[in-house]
Point group: C2
Chain length 316, copies 2
């Protein structure tokens, strides 16, 4: 099996001044994940590495750069899933951790559970020796500005919600195993303790070697209502291509509950899709040593991996 | 549409000395929920009332009577879902609250979110004026004994996990709306902050007027791996009866991830099922003014509602 990785940096509205950073960030993440796959690494390692790269990148709403809750704090959700055995690990409402996706993987590998939340997740991180990152270090100037603006009497919070930026990755490795990973800071000015789709298996992501893997982004509550990730894989089990499954599920979400979003998908033959009903979604994929990426509907740039690595300013 | 309610008091092993209490508890809950439906009340009100009745009953692992986590505390999860619009509310890892299902419903009705966890859920409960119940009041002598036994060096925690007792209800009302509700104390001696299937939409429950409603119980992590509730409704969307959809999904969970559990289901024609792959599951249903209930596979007692109400010692 030829390895494939697809990543997204969030569906919604991407402000003009952030387009280049978003493009660079998803390209870097895809190339890093692909590097692992090319060396015979697992889909699980590849998606974790890709997501971790975007958590560390302040352009995205995950890890450093996460949006702030109503109290001005960062609270993050993340999930990772192994399509081989349906094992999964997730964390919800975690603070003061640089890489929630790493903690989610430890939940999967070191406990009998699948989801740890808030205080308990914090205790678990301590037990695993994960260093505490001061909350301030995860907050960018931009996140704080947005938070303040939303508190103003004449703010339009709906407008701000459109600038999402959850990150995710799906991959298939040389052994045919699929995996997914998703990580987010959630909704701007959310209530303390709000958990969205990302931490909920079947909503924020799902991976099954029998069909494929998917990671979702967009309006979390709508994604949860239709259990979007699992819905896409059902459509693929019924014979749909990743692209058709993604479009059918996104159309259904819009028609049934009025929600917009985006998804990345890979099936167990290595076919992939990056589709969205929002105005934009930053995405990148690598297959057959070719990099493809875009942000707007219909936009698709292609480069060889060698060319991308040579031109990459971000230490791809 | 003739209203129907189905409730469960948990799948797993029900110790002999608790059988009568479990039977009485599910019968009482079903009759209470049915009482609401008969007066023209909504499926949502009926399932909330049925679950609340079992949360207040120390025979079940939900509300008062919840099992304890590794630190000897009660931490509870609950979800409620409205099949009309796919709205849902849930809470995870909440403490010191008598009725988590009530809080889940407030999340659905009073916020733009669907899931609040731990500290944030506690703040929300305070804001809603829900009185704090001292943690001790939710702990029964039996829960504490089990917790202590599990801490002993020669304990067999696997054995104890089989005595589950999550509670749930599904209903269809006279207007054809379906709803589900599920509430649990989770796994005995779980890690602090462990969230199971109950709080995850699509795993612990799902309701959709287009097909029906279901509530699940059993090994939470297995239920999450297969997103069991949503799976059952997919089968029904493909034309299966509630019973066949339940059995097919439970068989799949056993074959694919080795997990056992139980489910209650109602479809949008009012057909129902209560099925389990565990040794036992306490369940009760009322349809056409007839009460049916049981605990063992194949066990099914039938009474008229009038007879049940007349003989009910528990103030049905």
């Amino acid at each position: 099996m030829k390895p494939v990785i697809v990543v997204h940096g969030g569906a919604g509205r991407i402000f003009k001044e952030r387009e280049q950073g978003s493009r660079d960030g998803v390209v870097r993440a895809a190339l890093r994940g692909y590097g692992i796959l090319k060396q015979g690494g697992s889909a699980l390692d590849a998606v974790e590495e890709a997501v971790r790269s975007m958590e560390d990148d302040p352009h995205f709403n995950a890890g450093c750069g996460s949006v702030l809750n109503e109290k001005g704090e960062v609270e993050m959700d993340a999930i990772i899933m192994d399509g081989k055995n349906l094992d999964s690990g997730a964390v919800s409402a975690v603070k003061c951790i640089a890489n929630p996706i790493k903690l989610a993987r430890l939940v999967m590998e070191k406990t009998k559970h699948m989801l740890l939340t808030d205080h308990g997740a914090h205790l678990f991180a301590q037990a695993m020796g994960i260093p505490e990152t001061p909350g301030e270090k995860l907050i960018t100037e931009r996140s704080r500005e947005r938070w303040k603006k939303n508190l103003e009497a004449d703010s339009n919070p709906e407008e701000f919600q459109k600038d999402l930026g959850t990150v995710g990755a799906v991959a298939i490795d040389s052994e045919g195993n699929v995996a997914c990973a998703t990580s987010t800071g959630g909704l701007s000015n959310k209530l303390v303790g709000r958990v969205g789709d990302t931490a909920c298996i079947g909503s924020g992501g799902y991976a099954d070697n029998h069909s494929g893997a998917t990671s979702t982004t967009g309006h979390g509550e709508s994604i949860m209502k239709v259990v979007l990730a699992r819905l896409i894989l059902y459509h693929m089990e019924q014979g749909m291509s990743p692209e058709m499954a993604a479009d059918t599920a996104l159309d259904y979400m819009k028609a049934r509950v009025g929600g917009l979003g985006g998804v990345i998908v890979v099936n167990n033959s290595g076919e992939w899709a990056a589709r969205f009903s929002t105005k934009q979604m930053s995405w990148a994929t690598v297959k057959d040593d070719q990099l493809h990426y875009g942000i707007y509907a219909g936009e698709r740039h292609t480069k060889s991996v060698d060319e991308a690595l040579a031109s990459g300013s971000g230490g791809f």
